[in-house]
């Protein structure tokens, strides 16, 4: 679902106790997923996933390109052996870096520091100095073969390997192992600094804080025998899990996602033919390079997409999408398009725009049903009122839109009870009373079989909102009202006591629908508001699955012409649908969201 919801920007995804790291291959439409337990930090995962990707792709490249869907369905992908081999290699390369014997004082870092270094404050500076020394030392000895065989082999393998494949973790590991290697030759080192040795003959075993990420293995002071075995155990414990996650998935499941690319494969087949002559043309001269760019078979690289994505990001931000959301969206689109082969006569801009448009439409599609009337009918059948709560910050239009929604419900023949739980703002109750009077005038009881369609339940000012809500719901149940609309006071998301009060109201009364009312004018604030509201609701709820915001009402939509980015920000943060859109201050100004129109307005230059 990170792909379905366009959150594919990061490389990792946590679900319950597992962390999943994934990599997309857009050329053949493959997804590689590695799962491992969250509490363990496996440093070889990135490298493993890259290796697996490369091997798999090379091995089955022909099958993808020629056979299409049926081939993929029928073909057996006997990758198990290769995968186990890669896994073993990766594990070994990481095991080698484990610490062995506890270092003696001479081998430690402290003996290398000059006296001057030690006198200075233990801030960043001494660390930096020592690091520089260490790096200089490692550069000098980079060419030397280390005495410790295992470490040396791993260390030498790495610098000679692919430079691009080194992730940040690996660079740190490399530094660390070179540091270890250096200390194996303790004799040479101690000759360089006789003075500190004489001074620091305390025999205290130092703590190595200078290495940035000393993981648990380094801090483990048990001797080597137990080190080896304790280390083996966790590896075996999670080995089945990690491998199980992969073993079961790789042969069976990976290819399934591949065969879904038949359309792409067909396109590729078509593109392969023109690509062959174009490849020949490319050999003929640089002039044809431009033509080759136009005529298919050009795969998208990050560099090609970056300028276009920058422009799109700025465009989105200009349209009032929150900044972090725009960044994440562009990241996700980039991940999706990287390595994809473009069709004939499509430019990078058009491909990126198309992908972004699809992503935006996808975000605005509701994840759950948006049919309030249907749910009201259901509640009606069970003889209980359908409770809707409106929450939001000050001045977004809660009471106005509440009146509009009650008008709509009355038009459809449902009777409404309005609960005035805004006991703080002056005139809140009177405002609702005026609305009630107007609505009753518009829909008099005579035309609805003698029952008043709208009634106001209020208890004045200064009382507890949650209590009023509870009484209102009980009253509605007794009197047979179909819907209860609960109006709450506006509150800032940072105001802790008020957020607690709101959370209490919702937790105690368990409404059927919690609507967050947000105005379309809001920009980056939307993210903050929604996150904090959701957090407050989750924190103060006693239940196992807390009631969060179920839907969004986007108000004051008529005040923005086409800067409709707030809709995207809000749906992206909560993944909940926009249920209503308010476009004015009369009763008829209630609309529902049309995803395509909003996206068109967003993408319009």
């Amino acid at each position: 679902s990170p792909f379905a919801q366009e959150r594919g920007g990061n490389n990792s995804f946590t679900h319950e106790a597992l962390t999943l790291k994934y990599k997309l291959d857009n050329q053949f439409e493959l997804v590689f997923v590695v799962g491992f337990q969250k509490i363990l930090t496996l440093t070889y995962v990135d490298k493993l996933i890259d290796d697996v990707h490369k091997e798999f792709r090379d091995k089955y490249r022909n099958e993808f390109q020629q056979k299409g869907t049926l081939g993929l369905l029928n073909g057996t992908f006997d990758f198990k052996d290769d995968f186990m081999r890669l896994l073993r290699d990766a594990e070994e390369s990481s095991k080698v870096r484990a610490p062995m014997v506890m270092k003696t004082f001479e081998q430690s870092l402290k003996s290398q520091k000059t006296v001057k270094c030690m006198i200075e404050t233990r801030g960043e500076k001494p660390k930096e100095k020592v690091k520089n020394k260490k790096n200089k030392g490692s550069k000098k000895e980079g060419a030397e073969a280390g005495t410790a065989p295992g470490k040396a082999s791993a260390g030498d393998k790495q610098p000679s390997g692919d430079r691009e494949e080194l992730t940040k973790d690996e660079i740190l590991q490399k530094n660390r192992e070179e540091f270890f290697r250096r200390h194996m030759k303790a004799g040479e080192k101690s000759s360089k600094s006789p003075k500190p040795e004489a001074q620091k003959e305390k025999g205290k075993k130092p703590r190595v804080w200078d290495l940035e990420n000393s993981n648990a293995k380094v801090l483990d002071y048990s001797n080597s025998a137990t080190n080896g075995s304790t280390e083996a155990c966790p590896v075996e414990e999670f080995d089945p899990d990690a491998a199980l996650g992969d073993r079961n998935r790789e042969p069976g499941r990976l290819y399934d996602l591949e065969y879904e690319s038949d359309e792409e494969a067909e396109e590729e087949k078509v593109v392969q033919n023109p690509s062959k002559p174009s490849v020949k043309k490319g050999g003929l001269g640089g002039m044809f390079g431009m033509l080759k760019g136009l005529v298919g078979s050009k795969s998208l690289t990050r560099e090609d997409m970056d300028p276009v994505l920058e422009k799109m990001k700025d465009h989105l931000i200009a349209k009032n999408v929150a900044a972090e959301i725009a960044v994440q969206l562009c990241e996700s689109v980039a991940k999706k398009l990287e390595g994809k082969v473009m069709g004939t006569f499509t430019t990078v801009t058009s491909t990126v725009k198309q992908a972004l448009q699809e992503a935006l439409v996808q975000i605005l599609q509701p994840q759950r049903r948006v049919d309030v009337l249907r749910d009201v009918m259901d509640a009606q059948r069970h003889r209980r009122p359908y409770v809707v709560t409106f929450c939001g910050v000050n001045g977004v239009g809660k009471s106005t839109n509440l009146a509009k929604i009650s008008f709509w419900l009355i038009e459809n023949g449902f009777s409404v009870l309005i609960a005035a739980c805004d006991t703080f703002r002056a005139g809140a109750v009177e405002q609702l009373r005026t609305h009630t009077r107007r609505l009753n005038a518009l829909h008099p009881p005579e035309s609805h079989g003698g029952r008043t369609m709208v009634q106001l339940y209020e208890k004045g000012y200064g009382k507890d909102a949650a209590g009023i809500a509870m009484e209102a719901i009980a009253y509605a149940r007794n009197q047979g009202f179909d819907v209860v609309l609960v109006d709450t006071a506006g509150r800032m998301q940072d105001n802790a006591p008020l957020m607690t009060a709101l959370a209490k109201l919702i937790a105690v009364n368990t409404p059927d629908l919690v609507l967050f009312v947000g105005e379309a004018l809001v920009g980056n604030e939307a993210v903050d508001q929604l996150v904090k509201f959701n957090k407050a609701l989750a924190d103060h709820s006693m239940a196992q699955t807390p009631r969060l915001i179920d839907g969004i009402v986007l108000t004051k939509f008529d005040t923005i012409d086409d800067k409709v980015g707030a809709a995207i920000s809000m749906t992206y943060i909560t993944s909940k649908p926009i249920v209503f859109v308010g476009t004015g201050q009369t009763y008829c100004d209630l609309r529902s969201l049309n995803a395509k129109a909003v996206v068109a307005a967003l993408m319009k230059a």
């Binding site: 919801q5 369905l73 069976g252 996602l257 038949d262 759950r368 609309r591 049309n594 129109a597």
Partner: protein, 258 residues
């Protein structure tokens, strides 16, 4: 004025009478190109007329497995689809007919997008329903079905609709008849609620100007302009993963529409 035109007309007439090969050949070439274009467009139109069978349904209804079974006959572990897959399916009763099966993802965020892309090419639609979870999901199933049915392209082309009640191998599965009744009731209610929903931002109503079935009468699948059939099937098959899937009804229907 007429005098000025006269010599031009004379020149033209002279040209036509004494045919200059260059001009004539150019004219002929143009005519040939236009004719070719017209013929090509006609042929294109006829050829690309809807040879696709779409597999639609909610998440976890069994579309991808059904797809794999129809094409290869073997059981495969499947994941939630995030993109469509299509392949040509040869009808087994030895007719030379074949249709293109397209399996679309059921995820809520993706389904409408892919439906938009493929609805014009659809000759038939197989709507896969999870018979076991049906009681719980009846509203979602009905909503998706409603969205498919009121789509203007679908109404215009009226592709044959088959509602495949999948997962019949589980004992708790509901029968096709029950599903049909429940869907009719649900769609009946949906007609009312959808058309009463607030109008969309740009003015077009959500429910569309189309009204499903006849007004005033309860909704019935026979009121739709397309042929609707219900069939029970099981993609997994009663013998588990090793055996074959039970979907003779589905195969027969596919043979019929091919």
């Amino acid at each position: 004025m007429a005098g000025a035109l006269e010599p031009h007309l004379e020149a033209l007439r002279r040209e036509l009478r004494a045919p200059d090969p260059a001009v004539l050949s150019v004219l002929l070439a143009l005519i040939a190109v236009i004719v070719t274009l017209l013929i090509w467009r006609l042929v294109q139109g006829r050829r690309s007329s809807r040879k696709a069978v779409l597999l639609l349904g909610l998440c976890d209804a069994g579309k991808t497995l059904l797809f794999a079974r129809l094409l290869t006959g073997r059981y495969r572990d499947t994941q939630t689809s995030i993109t469509d897959s299509s392949a040509v399916y040869r009808v087994s009763s030895d007719k030379s007919a074949n249709v293109t099966l397209i399996d679309l993802p059921g995820h809520e965020s993706l389904r409408l997008q892919f439906l938009e892309r493929f609805k014009a090419a659809a000759r038939a639609i197989v709507f896969v329903v999870d018979s076991v979870a049906f009681q719980r999901e009846v509203k979602d199933v009905a909503e998706f079905l409603y969205q498919v049915l009121v789509d203007s392209t679908v109404l215009k082309n009226a592709p044959a609709l088959l509602i495949a009640c999948n997962k019949q191998d589980v004992t708790m599965a509901k029968s096709a008849k029950l599903i049909q009744q429940q869907l009719e009731k649900e769609l009946n209610t949906l007609r009312v609620t959808r058309s009463a929903a607030p109008t969309s931002l740009d003015g077009s109503a959500i429910g569309g100007p189309a009204q499903l079935g006849k007004k005033g009468k309860d909704f019935d699948f026979s009121q739709l302009p397309m042929k609707v059939e219900f069939v029970e099937c099981s993609a997994r098959g009663s013998k588990g993963e090793e055996g074959d899937a039970d979907f003779e009804g589905l195969e027969k229907w596919l043979a019929k529409i091919a």
